[in-house]
Amino acid sequence: MKVFVIDVGICNGCYSCQIACKDEHVGNDWTPYAKPQPDTGQFWMRQTEHIRGTVPKVKMHYIPIPCQHCDEAPCIPACPIEGVIYRRDDGLIIIDPEKCTGCKACVDACPYNAIFFNESLNIAQKCTGCAHLLDSGEWTVPRCADACPTEAIKFGEESEFKELIAKAEVLHPEYKAKPRVYYLNIPKKFIGGTVYDPVEKEVVIGASCTLSSDGKKLTATTDGFGDFWFEGLEDGTYSLKIEAKGFTAKTFDKISTEKDVNLGDIPLSK
């Protein structure tokens, strides 16, 4: 059974996946797998951008989202006609472009917003995993994976990727759709700052930073730029204590990581 394994840690946000998908499916008719999608407005592979923090502690990551080809795909039971949306032996899910009656039930049912409606053809459409190419025997991966410059998007047999899948997560597991798209290295939240001495106008290097939450503690030391970073944090409330020799300790309480946190340039006093 086929899976996607997408490593967000090496996705550079080039959008080649989103565009290569359009190159394949705009203006090309791959009936019985898919009819052409309109020139704009549909994103069978949808790149998403995430900007976190505030100047100058800002990081970005990108999450490319194709159809998740779910094991418990909500689109299949939503479709009023049996067999129009079906799962292949390799796990890829296809909407039959010749049999779809344009009722839009699947469009509404998909919690990942991965199904689009083509007004002029009156059919629902989505990512096919480029099944038409795989079946030709000449291709082993879909267009998005072939175009990806960093190999962030991998595609193949589930068995090939056992080790990676064990470390991966799926998007919105609470939807209970059991996606076959596995993600690695999706960042969680960060708390960062720069510690400095406002009298000498110097950064403080080697300051000890202790982050606490629910009895758990993490430590970091300020680097050569006076920066500390706590990354991979769960959403929650944290306290931070900054200690450096010759300075009074400084504490921050009730730091919420609902959004990533830049504590800015933090002055310590003697």
Binding site: D23, G53, V58, H132
Partner: protein, 874 residues
Amino acid sequence: MADGKGKTVDVKPDKTVIKALALGGLLGGGGECVVDVKDGKAVRIRPFHYDWKYDKKNFNAWKITRNGKTLEPLMKALPSTFSLAYKKRTLSPNRIKYPLKRVDWDPNGERNTQNRGKSKYKRISWEEATDLVASEVKRIHKQYGPLAILVQGDGHGECKTIHTPHGHQGRLLDMMGGFTQQVRNPDSWEGWYWGAKHVWGQGFQGMMSPAANLIKDISENCDMVLCWGCDPETTPWGFTGQYATRICYFWTQAGIKQVYICPDLNYGAAVHADKWIPVLPNTDAALQLAIIYTWLKEGTWDKEYIKTHAVGMDKVEDYVLGKEDGIPKTPEWASKKCGIPEWTIKALAREWAKKVTSIIHYFGGSFIRGPFSHEPGRLECVLLGMRGLGKPGVHQCQITYFGMPRAEGLKSIRFFNPQLSERLKIPCRTTIDAWGKQLIPKTLIQDAILKPPLTFIGSGGQESPTEDQFIKYTYPIAKEDGGTEVYMIWTDTPCRITCWNHGNWTIEAFRHPKIECVVAQHPWLENECLYADIVLPANTTLEVEDIITNTRQGPHFQSVAIQEQAIKPIGESKSDYEIVLEVAKKLGMGEKFSEGKTTRDLQKDVYDTMEMDDLISWDEFEEKKYYVYPVAKDWENDPPGFKKFYEDPENNPLPTPTGKLEFYSARLAEHFPDDRERPPIPKWIEKGETHDERISSERAAMFPMLLMSNHGRWRTHAQCDDITWTRETPTGKVLGFDGYKYEPVWINPIDAEKRGIKDGDVVKVFNERGIVLCGARVWERVRPGVAYVDHGARHDPIIPSRVDRGGAINTIAPNGISSKNAVGQATSGYLVDVQKVSGEEWDEWRRDYPEAFKREYDPASGLRFNAWVEGGME
């Protein structure tokens, strides 16, 4: 398996052709793709696989390791996103399908030059078009002399060799007595060219040369890399593709810290930066001086190296310590100018002193293209010198452009291919050399037309030696040498309005009555095409049979490939070469121009001049359609960068008068004793006679923000602005309330809130030079005090030379050159304000310029230029 019923579909193409789809042009290739064609249609464009027809063992792939991590090339090319989308350019709705003539331009009657940019076009035949061009050429030659024709034949562009997009008209006119050449100033290298050349000699347009084997040396030795005004995730896209991306991820895995110094969280900083230092645009010189100050004070610089490898350090010390002007260039002093906290400046100086560090660029982003750019350019040489330039891990590196493992059998790594025959190289000379009989630097075109005569110093020719910067030129040249003003323009690079200095003046220049005839040849009806009298339809790389030498460094492997025709030409379009050939025939120059050579002759020509006979037989090459150069067996031994100079400066002198790094340039002192904008040692220039663009200026009361431009994310200069798929991305275009897709301007939430601007609002970016409408992207990707708009968006005038809706920011860039004696452009780092467009302004424009709002428009691809053609262009 197939669908539920066992049906499949035939996906096999009729043919698969190789096409290099980067846009650097100039015979160097890059962005290698293949096009699958079926029934005469380009079905898909996908990355080229080097091992498609060869065993990869032949390639002797390189390997670079550090800290247990390895970087190796993939067996596929990594074309940029817009290379993959190239169908959308070939099939763009703005393709010029047949020759056009402006309806109210009559060479035998009224020329109505004032209506250029207003009046429409009508279709004419190739016969009529070539007759018109030929007769105008003959008339101008007779009336004024051959130098009265201005050739604008320079630029980047598609990767074709026989049908290279620029310069064929120059080759033709050169056969007929000469022409006036628009000399392309080194627009992406300005500060290196006008500055660094005076420190370490000629270099590559002023960048560090020799530059061999830098990627290996940096990977093995550096603990830190400074990405100064550099975006390895963007600018390489236009020239080779996404190879720098993989190097950056490797460096992260290997533990090499990447520090980005730039006003914006550029696309590289977004995913690779360990530290972002958001400096104010064009204030890097202050930061650089403060770092020198810190090293001097703390004694953390390589004194011994400087004694034997540089001259003028004493003068730099006096200036930086405040002995010369009473102002010590302390971090406190610098902080006020560059917007970085004092403590961070000191930390950077000390981290740099402790860690083995190189500086990387890819044309320097916006760092090297502002007013007085030669100052930060030279200061970088001083900083690297003080760290022992040439030592392991101490380099300036144009990442992937130079410094990649050497290929076996290739003689050059330049961006153009100097190995090719004259026949193929001459068109490119118009970009690379100042070879015309009469010269006008591209930055001075409008001054030349509107305010002649001109005197200027240095031609700005890309390959011109440093000494050219001391030569005084005039325009026109002496009458007895054929000197004359220009009265006709023949352009194949119609994008000056949006890519060069003060585009609003370009419009005025093109409309001047002395310019009797403007001929433009181009695939798309955009930018200056709208100010032409005769428009000739050029075609794209997918439509021609050609050959390409992918010899630029950057791709995983270099190669040569036959580029078969993928699809038939659109409409009546011809290649740029074929267009000029048709005119040549009408001038009786057809045989001489074509040399009677066929495409096959010229493909074989390339094979011969590249000495490929040693590597692969012609028959095998013709059958396989490509050849990949293996990596040289001894590539690892190439001395990296300035290593030889570092180890033995006496026997490996630099190409400077003293043979050393010249922090103090006696030549600058001798030639320009009163130049306060480019003094003999590099300095902080607050304001000069050429530019007054600092936040300390009086002008800042009205225009308090600093505009910066990078090379566009989704464009190469002006190309690719109408690709519907890239215009759909958040950084591509911003959909305004009025259904128009605006060029984004990035501003910080603090500045936006002060102005009542929200993300998605249509705003005006303006100064005294004009107004440009943009769509606001309000986010933390840019520091406060900065407005960021890439250059190159398609010009869409509401009021020509006053208000542009297309987002062509360069229409309001300074007209002034880099500085008094340096004819570079200064198109990043200048004062503007950003405000919402008021309802009254909209009403006024709609009332007074209704035709601007009636033009046919499609948000997906933008302005439909068939609206400019009577009867449409379908």
